[in-house]
């Protein structure tokens, strides 16, 4: 992924801390995506567009979400891809 930012660690200890931090943060994020699968999710998008859908899957670069039963203003779309660049936030309950 091109969006990964990285500091220039001054020493090996800092490098290791940074790597461990990345592992914990990435693992938690990936697990949150797994937990979301099959749940209704509310998406707040740009231009005041709000939609709900069932979350299915994401690519690993977090660029596209595959959703189903997308409730659009013009009806239900059985399967759809949402561009993550269109989304401001998303929320679900467990």
């Amino acid at each position: 992924p091109a969006t990964l930012s990285s500091s220039v660690p001054g020493n090996a200890v800092q490098l290791e801390q940074e790597q461990q931090g990345r592992v914990v943060m990435r693992e938690r994020y990936l697990r949150s995506l797994s937990a979301m699968a099959g749940h209704p999710v509310r998406f707040t998008m740009y231009e005041k567009v709000n939609v709900t859908a069932l979350f299915e899957a994401s690519d690993i670069d977090i660029l596209n979400f595959h959703v189903s039963e997308l409730q659009t203003p013009l009806g239900v779309q059985r399967d759809a891809l949402l561009r993550c660049s269109d989304i401001i936030s998303y929320t679900f309950e467990l």
Partner: protein, 62 residues
């Protein structure tokens, strides 16, 4: 494959990716890569089967 000594050897994409993962995630690289591989396979399989179309058709944010 003889006679290619003038060219630098090209990396295998898998190896280059693992090297990149190692740099980012250190000793946890294998674990993260395993999780990501599962997730990407699932996404690709889903898309092959369901053929989802982008919504909205035109991006909201350019």
């Amino acid at each position: 494959t003889a006679g290619r000594s003038a060219q630098p050897p090209t990396d295998k994409p898998g190896e280059r990716r693992m090297a990149e993962m190692k740099k980012l995630y250190g000793v946890g690289a294998a674990k993260i890569q395993a999780m990501e591989t599962t997730m990407q396979l699932n996404f690709d399989k889903n898309c092959d089967k369901k053929q989802p179309k982008y919504w909205p058709v035109i991006p909201l944010k350019l």
